[in-house]
């Protein structure tokens, strides 16, 4: 908290001191709308942290323009998002809106992006339809379908025949289940048990007992990030790990942000995801070290979404030579390719959605800490939620 206070003061001071200069050189304003309070607060904090880190490293000026971030907290409530986006566009005259912790928030801002011709950079929310809601939306996070289909393919090919599924009963949970099921059964697998748990469900005990009794090879799990730890603990408590039942799923459950607190119960879980803090590239090592030094915690996939989002803006501005109107920026962003801490990624010129590698990882202990260690890669995965159409 002190950290936020200090950084807020620093930002305030730096804004004041640069105030005079900014008149001369023109600014590009980015309205960053993320949840900084409430249940999704860690998403907003990671994105905000990553963007600050990026600007510290690369400076706040690009193509002769000063890039200014205006941070707004929507607490992941779509009504707030819409109001804030409108204020930012109308009053602050921002050139870009960015952030968006959850799908409803990203959707709420979409009509505004279209009307005002302001690019909307989605750095977190993961439902496929988002980018179809406005021609000005670009995504640097992921789609749930990317990881869910890949883990389905992988499981079917790697000796997992029978799977019981446990997913939270809300849109992303149902998405994950549907995409996984399609690909897993197409690959010859069988779903022996399918349980949807209520979203506000604290105790997994009865559901896990049901999983255990159905004797699957693996349990496919998708629960909101915060519940992953509880799930893994109860999974081990009930002895499912000792019965040889594996845990598989999209990687949200094993978010780097939470992983270390889950305890050894999480060991051995296999998930498919876009980013692990243990990704073995020089760029990622540098990114993780800088992030740890600045914030004393390791970055998760949300931080990477923020990092790549701001990188995309910088690169687009370089390409347009500082022209910051919506149409030129979007045109510049389409098809852009770069190396991110997560690996090589690009923006699909047709859908404006992200194309990235999806890694299969296993939770292992490295130097006394839990990490997702990548052991297989599916290269340049497009969003399967769209390619079907």
């Amino acid at each position: 908290m002190l950290r936020n206070l200090i950084s807020a003061t620093v930002t305030a001071v730096s804004v004041l001191s640069i105030g005079g200069l900014a008149q001369a050189q023109e600014t590009v304003k980015i309205g960053l709308i993320v949840p900084m309070t409430g249940g999704q607060a860690s998403t907003g904090q990671q994105i905000n942290n990553a963007i600050k880190l990026y600007q510290q490293k690369n400076g706040d000026t690009v193509a002769g323009k000063k890039v200014e971030i205006i941070l707004k907290d929507d607490a992941a409530l779509p009504d707030n998002t819409k109001r804030l986006a409108q204020e930012l566009i109308v009053n602050e005259k921002v050139n870009i809106i960015a952030g968006f912790g959850v799908t409803p928030a990203a959707l709420a801002a979409a009509p505004l992006a279209t009307q005002a011709k302001v690019p909307e950079i989605v750095m977190a929310a993961g439902t496929s339809i988002i980018t179809e809601r406005s021609p000005y939306i670009v995504r640097t996070s992921f789609t749930l379908a990317q990881s869910s289909t890949i883990i389905g393919d992988w499981a079917a090919k790697n000796g997992i025949k029978k799977v019981a599924t446990l997913t939270s009963d809300y849109a992303p949970g149902n998405d994950a289940l549907q995409f996984f099921k399609e690909h897993f059964t197409a690959g010859g697998g069988e779903i022996v048990e399918e349980v949807k748990v209520p979203l506000a469900n604290p105790d997994f005990a009865p559901f896990l007992q049901r999983m255990k009794d159905s004797k699957p090879d693996a349990v496919f799990v998708f629960v909101p990030a915060g519940q992953g730890g509880n799930f893994m603990k109860q999974y081990a408590e009930r002895g499912l790990d000792k019965s040889g039942i594996k845990v598989i799923g999209p990687g949200d459950v094993m978010d780097d942000d939470l992983l270390n607190n889950m305890g050894d119960a999480a060991l051995g879980a296999v998930t498919a995801h876009l980013y692990s803090a243990a990704h073995p590239s020089a760029m990622n090592k540098e990114f993780v070290a800088a992030y740890k030094k600045a914030y004393n915690t390791r970055p998760g996939f949300m931080a990477v979404g923020g990092w790549d989002g701001i990188h995309l803006v910088y690169e687009a501005l370089k390409k347009t030579g500082g022209k910051a109107d919506g149409d030129s920026l979007i045109a510049a962003m389409k098809g852009m390719k770069w190396e991110s801490p997560r690996g090589p990624i690009s923006i699909d010129p047709e859908t404006r959605d992200i194309v990235q590698n999806i890694y299969i990882r296993k939770v292992e202990k490295v130097d006394g800490e839990l990490y997702n260690i990548e052991f297989a890669t599916f290269e340049a995965v497009k969003d399967p939620g769209k390619t079907k159409k």
Binding site: S42, A205, P206, F207, N230, A236, E237, R238
Partner: protein, 288 residues
């Protein structure tokens, strides 16, 4: 065999609910005060335990009583400074005041501890299952049943056998006559309130492993506490105790046997019981 496992899990869950909610049964039933902020005290205990175990490295069993003391102390301070002014006010005032406290506690914990789930690092001997007569029994849940069972017996003894218990019952039945007989009624209420908060705190610490612990805990579980008290009736400890067990077992069994309807079972049971006995299982029929 599965039936027994379900029963065991249900009892553990019910016991936990009881320790969490019995403080509320006391304030609501005995003192006739609607304290929606009850869960906030449970959360305080949970976080106190988490900080002590995770950061200060205290053993879990040493941290549990401290969690009790911390929550009881917070309860006592708030009772003396805030709550006692509202005893005579209408129920609506009490509801508005305590729900305000809930929101303040949520924001305060969010500010200091962050919004993500907090886990308490348990010693190894509390993790995993042991085999009891061929039945897989979770060690942690077994411990919950033992601790909560002892607490229940102790509570019942205090209420029925000790001098303090009889003072409390007298103060509740007729505060004017009780104070006329020389019983310091406000003091009795304050002690009872603090004790109820302490129990909630201990429940919060015990429950962190099973129910999870985050700043929204008081809001998430408010409904459960209220169900326990309304279904159990609030005239004794036995009512809420049986209600907790019934709801715990019903909830777990419902989720196991009919997972599609699992979340509704507990509410359906509440509605049926309340239609059958509007004052709860052990309610006073001619209450105030």
């Amino acid at each position: 065999m599965t039936l027994l496992t379900i029963l065991f899990d249900g009892i553990a869950y019910g016991m936990l609910l009881f320790v969490l909610a019995c403080g509320l049964a006391v304030t609501l039933g005995l003192m006739n005060f609607v304290n929606l902020a009850h869960g906030a005290f449970a959360m305080a205990g949970g976080y106190a335990c988490a900080i002590l175990v995770n950061r200060a490295g205290l053993p879990f069993f040493a941290a549990l009583p401290i969690a009790f003391v911390v929550s009881a102390a917070i309860g006592a301070v708030l009772e003396r400074s805030l709550y006692r002014h509202l005893y005579t006010r209408s129920h609506l005032d009490q509801v508005l005041f305590t729900i305000g406290l809930v929101f303040m506690s949520v924001t305060a914990v969010d500010y200091f501890m962050g919004s993500s789930q907090t886990f308490i690092h348990l010693p190894d001997y509390l993790q995993g299952q042991i085999n009891l007569f061929g039945l897989g029994v979770g060690r942690y849940r077994l411990m919950i049943i033992v601790i909560c069972g002892l607490l229940t017996v102790a509570l019942q003894m205090i209420l029925s056998k000790t001098r303090f218990g009889s003072r409390l019952r007298a103060a509740v039945d007729d505060p004017r006559a009780a104070s006329g007989l020389g019983i310091n009624v406000p003091q009795v209420f304050a002690l009872t309130f603090a004790f109820g908060c302490g129990l909630a705190g201990m429940g919060g610490a015990l429950g962190a492993e099973i129910l999870g612990l985050d700043p929204y805990f008081p809001l998430k579980f408010m409904i459960y506490f209220l169900i326990v008290v309304t279904v159990g009736g609030s005239s004794s400890i036995t009512g809420p105790f049986l209600a907790s067990l019934l709801l715990g077992i019903g909830d777990v069994a419902g989720k196991y046997y009919v997972p599609k309807l699992g979340a509704f079972v507990i509410y359906t049971m509440m509605i049926v019981i309340l239609i059958w006995r509007p004052n709860g299982l052990f309610g006073r029929t001619a209450a105030r």
